[in-house]
C-alpha cells in the first residue's frame, strides 16, 4: 500500500489546505493523524510483493481482542484521527467487527484494507453497521489467469469482484488498490476501467516497493523504464479524464527516480504502525532493520511515550543521525535521506543514504542492476508464507 498520508496532493484548494502540509519541517513531531494496524499476519493469499516482513508473526503472538480495544481507545485519546485495519488479512480475525465498532465508538475514522477473499455480504453489512467508513480492496490484475497466479490463490479474482460489488451495495465507499509490476503493468488501462465498472471512488495505482518479500522477488517484478513511463502517462491522462469521478493516487517505484521518496514522511515524524504482536513501528518494514529494539504496547509504556521517547523512534528522527552525503545536503529536510529500511537492505547500514537517491554512491550500480533485471527472463515468484516462501512451479510461471 502507499505511504499513509505520505503522498498527499498539494492543497485541496485555497480554503482547504491539507493538514500535514501546514506543519513546518522544523516543528517537532506531533501525534500522527493516521495509524496502520496490522492486526494479523495470517492471509490466504501469497502475493510475492507482500509488504509484511519476511519473518511473520504467528497467530499465537497476536494481541487479544481486549488488547486491541485498549490500543484503539488509547489512540483516539492521544489524538489519532484515522485507523487502517490491515494485515495480513484483517478479516482472518474473528473479532474484526467488534474492533471496528470499538474504534468507531471512540470517534476514529475506520478504513479496512483487505484482500476481500474471506468476506461475505453479511459480514460486510455487519462492518458497515459497526461504523466502518471505507473499504480498500487489493487487485492483482484484471483477469483470473494472471491475477490468481500472482495471488497464489484460486478464484481470488472472481471473489474480489463479487465483494467489491457487495461493498457498493451496502453503500460503503470503495478504493481499488492495484499493485503494479512488470508482469501486470500492461493491464493498467483495463484496471482503470475495472475501477470505474466497480463504482469505486478511488484507485491506487501502487507500483511495488522493493522491501522484504518484494526485494526477494525483484527480478520477477521490476518494470522496465518504458513500462513505467507509459504507466505515468496513462495515470495522468486518466486523472484528467476522470476528474470528479475517480480519484487516482499514484505511487512510483523509487528505483527509477533521481530523488528518494520522503519515506513515511520521515522516520518517526507523522506515521507509526502496530504489528500483530503489538510492536509500535516507524513503518511496516522497520523490523527488517536488525539491531533496533521496538517497544510493544504490552510494555508498561504508553503508546505516546513509545512514539516520543523510545530509542528506536529517536534513532533516525530528524537529521542529527545523518552521514554524508545527507548531512550537508540541501534536501535533507525535504526527503530525510529516503527510506531507512531500503538503505539497510541494500547497503547494510540504515544510516546510509537511500540508494534511490542519485547522490548515493550506490545509486548507479543499483539502477543498472534493476534495469538488467527488468529486461531479464526471470518470471517465477517466491510466494509469501509462514515457511519463509515457496518457489512457484516452473510450469506455472
Amino acid at each position: 500500500m502507499s505511504d499513509v498520508l505520505g503522498n498527499i496532493p498539494p492543497g485541496i484548494s485555497d480554503s482547504l489546505a491539507v493538514l500535514e502540509k501546514q506543519r513546518s519541517t522544523a516543528e517537532t513531531f506531533g501525534i500522527p493523524l493516521a495509524v496502520l494496524l496490522e492486526i494479523t499476519h495470517r492471509c490466504p493469499l501469497q502475493c510475492p510483493y507482500c509488504s509484511n516482513p519476511v519473518e511473520l508473526d504467528r497467530s499465537g503472538k497476536e494481541l487479544t481482542t481486549q488488547e486491541w480495544k485498549k490500543v484503539l481507545s488509547e489512540l483516539a485519546e492521544i489524538g489519532v484521527l484515522q485507523v487502517h485495519f490491515s494485515g495480513g488479512e484483517p478479516t482472518a480475525r474473528k473479532d474484526l467487527v467488534e474492533l471496528v465498532k470499538h474504534a468507531s465508538d471512540a470517534g476514529l475514522y475506520t478504513n479496512l484494507i483487505t484482500s476481500a477473499v474471506l468476506l461475505t455480504r453479511e459480514k460486510l453489512s455487519e462492518l458497515a453497521d459497526a461504523g466502518l467508513c471505507h473499504v480498500q480492496i487489493s487487485f492483482q490484475g484484471v483477469e483470473e489467469g494472471l491475477a490468481d497466479r500472482v495471488a497464489g490463490y484460486r478464484n481470488a479474482h472472481r471473489k474480489k469482484l463479487e465483494v467489491a460489488k457487495w461493498t457498493r451495495e451496502v453503500d460503503l465507499p470503495l478504493t481499488v488498490n492495484a499493485v503494479m509490476h512488470r508482469q501486470n503493468l500492461h493491464q493498467l488501462p483495463d484496471i482503470i476501467q475495472m475501477a470505474l465498472d466497480l463504482d469505486a471512488d478511488r484507485l491506487e495505482v501502487a507500483n511495488v516497493q522493493y522491501y522484504g518479500w518484494a526485494l526477494k522477488n525483484r527480478a520477477a517484478l521490476m518494470p522496465t523504464v518504458a513500462q513505467l513511463d507509459e504507466c505515468t502517462r496513462l495515470v495522468e491522462e486518466a486523472r484528467e479524464r476522470l476528474k470528479g469521478r475517480l480519484t487516482i493516487d499514484y505511487v512510483v517505484p523509487d528505483y527509477y527516480a533521481l530523488r528518494p521518496k520522503k519515506c513515511m514522511g520521515g522516520w518517526g515524524r507523522q506515521f507509526f504502525n502496530i504489528s500483530p504482536a503489538g510492536k509500535v513501528l516507524p513503518c511496516h518494514a522497520a523490523e527488517s532493520i536488525t539491531g533496533l529494539d521496538f517497544e510493544s504496547v504490552r510494555s508498561n509504556h504508553s503508546i505516546a511515550w513509545i512514539w516520543q521517547n523510545s530509542e528506536a523512534f529517536n534513532r533516525y528522527r530528524g537529521t542529527g543521525w545523518m552521514k554524508e552525503p545527507c548531512r550537508s545536503c540541501e534536501f535533507r529536510e525535504s526527503d530525510f535521506g529516503g527510506c531507512r529500511c531500503q538503505a539497510f537492505a541494500l547497503t547494510g547500514d540504515a544510516a546510509n543514504t537511500d540508494p534511490a537517491c542519485a547522490l548515493s554512491p550506490l545509486h548507479e550500480t543499483i539502477f543498472k542492476q534493476a534495469e538488467r533485471e527488468a529486461e531479464g527472463e526471470i518470471n517465477r515468484f517466491l510466494y509469501r508464507n509462514f515457511a519463509g516462501g515457496t518457489l512457484e512451479s516452473e510450469n506455472d510461471a
Partner: protein, 103 residues
Amino acid sequence: MAGPRNISISEASRPVLPRHAKLKYDETRKVWVILAPERVLAPDEIAVEVLQLCNGERNVGEVADQLAEKYAAPREAILADVIAMLQDLADKGFLTEAREKTS
C-alpha cells in the same frame, strides 16, 4: 448508493459530504478536519461554516442567503465564492449531491 458524481454546483444544488468524508472537530489540535481515505484536510473557518450548512436539505442559494444575512454582505459575491469552493471540493471527489427524498 452515493449520489451522482461529476456534479456541477449551482444555486439549486443540495450538496453534502459523501459517506467517506467526515467533518469533525479535532480536540487535540483544535482545528476542524475533513477525514477521508488516506487524507486529512483542514478546511478554513468559512469552508467549515458552508459545509455545516450543506446538510442535504438546504440548497446552495439558501446557504448563500444565510451567510449574506449573517455577515451583512452582498449575496451575489457570497454565492459566487460558495459555488467556487464547493465545485472545487466536488471536482476532487469530496462532495456529492443529496438524493431526492423518497418518503
